[in-house]
């Protein structure tokens, strides 16, 4: 721990045993050997993103922490979002700065436990008076960083939830995730459907599927449009499937049930106008899709 004059922290440290730092050149470093010799049950290591002075066994502090974990010592550490390597681009977008020290995101994701230390941006930035106040700009940046930190923590928690469910043999979705099936045809307005589905799935960290039920005798032009639609779906992160089936409604429902889909996106049917005696497939889908939402989109 290195403390720069924060009395409250001094107070908190007073009752804890401290393994002294060692000096290397004009820099201070954690005394890894001393910690391993002392072999505590738990070791606190502040500032995970830190480049060690030359001559250290490990170049980065996170590598030292990994070493302590290997030795069977539990570690409690503190990290800032802007020190995660993979977040550098987004951080730069927000703050215009990149950090000179960093650690890999995988290291954070592999943590057994994560706790968010949340504070409102206004508290950090001081109270802003209104537009144009530099403190307001600072508060806005802090808010964006805060949002990213919370989302990252939510992702880590979600992984924990998956692990927990696997360990307990729970195979159902936990109700927080949307599993969206976009039905693709040559005529469908694929972009709107897929983009809407993707946003929806992303927000809940769910899954996006694109399904084409094979139609006979497609014109060459229609086939090209279809291929473009499926490509788009894949590019936007959908798992694209093609199935054969006499009846598209049955094929869609079979697929949806097997994949535990929560929402089906489909284009409006245009058949009823010309063949009034044939039951409209969208009607049939709505009637049969028990437990699933059906969202019907305008066609091209």
């Amino acid at each position: 721990v290195q403390i720069t004059q924060r009395d409250e922290l001094q107070e908190k440290l007073r009752l804890l045993e401290i393994v002294p730092l060692i000096q290397r050149g004009d820099q201070w470093a954690m005394d890894l050997d001393a910690i391993v010799r002392r072999h505590p049950a738990v070791c606190l290591v502040d500032e995970l993103a830190y480049s060690n002075p030359p001559g250290s066994l490990f170049g980065q502090r996170w590598q030292e922490v990994a070493y302590l974990l290997d030795q069977g010592i539990n570690v409690v550490t503190a990290v800032n979002l802007q020190h995660i390597s993979e977040q550098q681009d987004r951080i730069e977008e927000i703050t215009g700065k990149r950090s000179s020290v960093s650690f890999p995101e995988a290291f954070l994701r592999a943590a057994d436990e994560i706790v968010v230390v949340d504070v409102c941006a206004d508290d950090l930035a001081g109270v802003a008076d209104g537009a144009g106040d530099p403190r307001q700009e600072r508060a806005r940046k802090l808010s964006e960083l805060r949002e990213l930190a919370l989302i990252l923590a939510a992702d880590v928690v979600e992984n924990q939830l998956q692990t927990y469910m696997e360990r307990h043999g729970i195979h159902q979705t936990w109700g927080t995730q949307e599993r969206i099936l976009v039905c693709i045809t040559p005529r469908s307005n694929a972009r709107e459907m897929i983009e809407s589905g993707r946003r929806n799935a992303e927000r809940s960290h769910g899954q996006l599927f694109a399904l084409y039920v094979e139609q006979q005798n497609l014109s060459r032009e229609a086939e090209e449009v279809l291929e473009a639609n499926m490509d788009l779906a894949r590019r936007l992160g959908a798992e694209a499937h093609t199935v054969a089936g006499q009846d598209p409604v049955t094929a869609i429902l079979d697929f949806a049930r097997a994949q535990r889909v929560t929402q089906i996106f489909i284009g409006h049917s245009q058949r009823s106008r010309f063949l009034p005696w044939v039951r409209n497939p969208v009607d049939r889908l709505i009637e049969a899709a028990e437990g699933m939402d059906v969202r019907v989109f305008p066609q091209h």
Partner: protein, 377 residues
Amino acid sequence: LKRLKEWMSASSLNTEGAGSGAPRRRGKLKIFLGYAAGTGKTYRMLEEAQRLKASGVDVVVGYFEPHGRKETIAKTEGLEFVPRQRIYYRGSEFEDMDTAAILRRRPAVCVVDELAHTNVPGSERKKRWEDVAILRATGIDVLTSLNIQHLESLNDQVWHVTGIRVRETIPDWVVQEADELEMVDLTPRALIHRLERGVVYGPEKAQQALENFFTEGNLTALREIALRQTAQQIEDQIDDAVSPRIQTTRRAEKSDRFLVVISPEPHTAMLIRRGKRVADYLHSECFGIFVANDPRWSSLSPEEREAVERHLNFSKLLRIEVQVVIGTDLAQTVLDFAREHQIRQIFISRGNPAATRLVRLAKDMVITVVSERTRQR
């Protein structure tokens, strides 16, 4: 129907008349959000109150729920309490926050624990958040605490995750209007440990809680919901004009307006929550419509009439602009209304007999037919 009309003409929350009448700055609201009891919201809130007091701010505690937690109680030391009021109702005595006394005391900041609390019967207002609105209307800043499961729009999701229907809910806009929302986080394991040590509840209640609500799976899922909700609210409060990153994600469907078709159907509440949540996410306007055959709603049974009134009230509570329109053809009336109001997205319940006809008629619109989701575990 008369009652409904009166209700609809009255503003949903009339706080302007409160206080002395002199215009003043509205008090700020800061919410400490947790994903379950025992994460340390109240403790953090009191810490903040102490910090404010130390810097010379006039702070009082309007309501505090000690739950017998020693460390939390210790944090109230030195803070001024406004005594609770005694309320007599049907021969019993209850205690609750004394809003009138706080208004007389007129502090700069007031601590009000448990924002989602339902007031004891016989109180002037039904919900604590209404009392908080009164305090803020007179310029008092409020620090308060809330658990994620009480948020109205998450009601179905929380039920899915935990199997528990939370009855005490709070409309999302109350939370959205907060000046600050801070998440008080703790790992589920640490929380379970606190529960086992008897820090959160007494032994009997703790055991019960551990077996039902406080399982590691439930807590982990609720925690994820709370983290995402907080992140979402932070994003919503960032002015999109100044953040290019957010601007691009937000612009997509922003222009779409939403309409929810209200009916006596029992799943209408779920439908309303779903429509409103999607619209909120996209920062879009959300309307509600109920189509009646005639002005006397004569085609409905008394029970159905009551259900519709309840659903209209619920919509208004969530700040959905609702309209009752007379028409004999439900699907056509909804469609006409949508066209007239430049609405492109309609939410209708799967059980609504007009659903498929609406889909057939509205080929230029996005229609979401909402199903009741069964809880599978």
